[in-house]
Amino acid sequence: MPKITINGKEVEVKEGTSIIEAMQQSGDRIAHYCWHPGLSVAGVCRLCMVEIEGNPRVQIACNTMATEGMKINNTSEKVRDAVKWGLDFHLINHPLDCPICDQAGECGLQDQYMEYGKYDPEMAEPKQKKHKVVDLGPTVVLDSERCILCSRCVRFTEEVSKTNELGLFNRGDRTEIGTHDGMPLNNKYSLNTVDICPVGALTSKDFRFRQRVWYLKDSETVCNGCSTGCNVKVYYNREGFFRVKPVYNEKVNGHWMCDEGREIYKFVNKDHRLLKAQVRNNTGWTEMHAGAAAKAASEVVKSTAADSLALVLTAQYTVEEFDAIVGTFVNEFKSKKVYFWINNKESFDEFDGLLLRGDKNPNTKGLLKVLEKHGISATWNELSQGLAAGSIKTVVVAGPENQAVFPDFADRVKELSKAQNLIWLQAGKNEALSALTGNVSLIPMKTFVEKDGTFINHAGLEQKFKKATVVVSEALTLTEAALLLAGKNLAINASPANEFMPMNQRIDQVEVEARKKNEFVFKRGSL
C-alpha cells in the first residue's frame, strides 16, 4: 500500500494504482480527455500532466503508477503551463461552434479552456477541414472536425462492446474516427460512445438538438428496462423527460448501460400517458378523476364475492407497492387469487454477457418475494379456467409501464376482458384497452420516476430510488390505488407549489424567520 503525497495531502492507495486514479480518490481535479476509468489507458491527450518531485519534466498521470513516497503536484505553474499548451494543440483544428454544438454546457474542452486556457491562439494556419454530420449508424452522428482523437469511443468498441466497428483512419492532423464501409456502428451499447465523448463529436440522434443541456435537471434512479437494474440519471424539465444516462455502480452496471434502456424515458412522457381515469359502463366511456374512479371501483370490488375476485400483477412496480396491494387482497378481501403476468417466459433467462437480460421487468424478484411472503401460489392456468368458466367476475390488473416488452398485451387484454368487471391500473395509453367493451375502469398510474420505491434486480440486490418529478399529477401509485380499492381514504401530502421542481433537492436553506430579519424594512420618518 504505497503512501503518496498529492498537492501536499497524504493519500494511501492500492498497489498498481495510477496517479490519476489516486487523484480521483483524493478528490483533486485533473485535466483529462482520453483517460476513462472503464477503459484501457491510451495516453494520447497529454493533458493529465503532473509534476513529480525529483523528475525534471512533467509526466502524464494516467500511465504513471503511484509508488511509495511519491510527491505529486498538479497545481504548480509548470503544470498549468503544460496543460495550457497541450490544450492549444487540441484546439488547433477544433472548430469553435459551441453555439450549435450539442455538447455545449457539458463539454470537457469548454471546461478545460475556462480553467487552463484563456489565451490568444498563436496559430496562423487555417483549420483543417474534416467531415461534418457523418452518419455512423442508426443511433450516432459524428462530426469529425470536433473530434479531438482521444480514442475513447474506439477503445469502447474494442474492449467493452467487443464489436470493433470504430477505428482511427489516416495520419497526423488528417486523422478521423470512422467505420469501415458497410460496417455501421450498430450494437446494443453504441450510445455509450456518446456519453464518453469528451467533446461534441459524437451525438445521439435521439437527443440531438432537442434541448440544450443547461435547461435540463437530472435525478438519479434505477432503470426499469430489464432485470439488471442499471443505475441511471434521467434528464427532464417542464416539457418532459429527454434522455437517460448511466451512473457508475460497480455492483450492477459499471459505467455503462444499453441502448434499449435509454428508451425508457419515452413512455414516461405525457403524450404516452393516461392523463385521466376512463370508466366504461353500458352507456360508454366517461372521464373521471383517478381517485374518484378508484373509489367507484372499490364499490365493485366489495360487492364481488372473495372467490370470484382476482388480481393480476406485472413485475414493473416497486416492492412496497406489491406489498400494499397483495396485502389488501389477502387481508381485506380474503382473496388469494393473485396471478403473476409473465410477458415472455422463454427469453427470461437470456443474458448477453454484458448488461442486457431477457427478463424485461425491473422487479421480478421483488414480486416473487412478496407473493412468497403472502403464501400465494396461484398459476395463470387457474385464472384462464376461472375466466372461461365465469367463476372469476372481477379482475384488478396492474398493467405494465413499459408496454413495448409485453408483445402479448392485446391477447391478454382479450382474455381478461371475459371478466364482468375489469379494473385496469395502467400508466400508459393503449389501444387494446380503449377498444374494450363492457364494464371497464382505466385508472392512471404513476411511473417509476414519479415515486419512491425499491426494485430487486436479477441478482437479488435491493435498490432504493427516489422520486424525480411529477408528470401526471393525479395518477396514483399502486399503494394509493390499493388503499382506495379497499374503501379507505388517502392522506394527501400537499405538494410543493411548482411540481416540476426536482423533489430530491435540498429545501431552501434560508429559513423564513431568518429571511424576515434580513428584509429591508422601510420606516417612514416623521415630518
Partner: protein, 174 residues
C-alpha cells in the same frame, strides 16, 4: 399619508409664484401661435417622431442572401433573456453545411422588456431590435411573434440581410 405643512411667513407670498407660472404659459402660447413649426407637440398618429437609429423596438430576425434565416438555434438569446419570452425549437437541416436551424422561433412580445440582451448574446447577428415601436392590436391580437412575423413581415420587404457574410467568414477560416 402625511401632510406637510409649511407655516412660515414666506409661504403666504403665493401671488408671485402664480403670476410667474402664468407668465411662462403665456410666453409659450404666444410663441407657438407666432411660429407653429417650432411647437413641441405632435399630432399623433398623423405625425410621428423619428427616434435615433439605435432605438430598440420590435425584433427582427435577419436573413441570409438566399432569404433563409440566419439563426442557428443555439438558444443563447433564449438563455440570456431575462423575461424568458423566447421559445425556440431546433431541428436538423437537410443541408449538411447548415446542421442546425430553428423550425419555430417565438417571442412573447407582451413579456419582452426590450432590454436587447438577445441581440447581444447572438453570435451570428441573427436577431436585432429594429426601429418599429408601435404595434398595437385589439384584444385577441396575436402577440406571440413567430418566424413569419419576425423575419418576413411586409414592412421588412423580404427580410433584412446582415453585413456579416457567411461565405466570406468561411473563406477566412473563421
Amino acid at each position: 399619508m402625511s401632510v406637510m405643512q409649511n407655516n412660515s411667513e414666506k409661504a403666504k407670498w403665493y401671488l408671485p409664484g402664480v403670476l410667474g407660472g402664468l407668465w411662462i404659459t403665456g410666453k409659450h402660447l404666444v410663441g407657438n401661435l407666432l411660429n407653429r413649426k417650432k411647437m413641441m407637440t405632435l399630432n399623433y398618429p398623423e405625425e410621428k417622431y423619428d427616434y435615433s437609429p439605435r432605438f430598440k423596438g420590435n425584433h427582427v430576425l435577419t436573413v441570409k442572401k438566399d432569404g433563409s434565416l440566419r439563426c442557428t438555434a443555439c438558444m443563447l438569446c433564449a438563455t440570456n433573456c431575462p423575461a424568458e419570452c423566447i421559445k425556440i425549437v431546433a431541428a436538423e437541416h437537410n443541408d449538411p453545411t447548415v446542421e442546425k436551424f430553428p423550425i419555430a422561433y417565438e417571442i412573447d412580445i407582451l413579456r419582452c422588456v426590450f432590454c436587447g440582451y438577445c441581440e447581444e448574446a447572438c453570435p451570428v447577428d441573427a436577431i436585432r431590435l429594429g426601429p418599429e415601436w408601435q404595434t398595437p392590436a385589439v384584444n385577441g391580437g396575436n402577440f406571440i411573434y413567430d418566424i413569419n412575423h419576425l423575419a418576413y413581415r411586409p414592412n421588412l420587404k423580404g427580410g433584412i440581410q446582415t453585413h456579416v457574410d457567411d461565405e466570406e467568414r468561411h473563406k477566412q477560416g473563421i
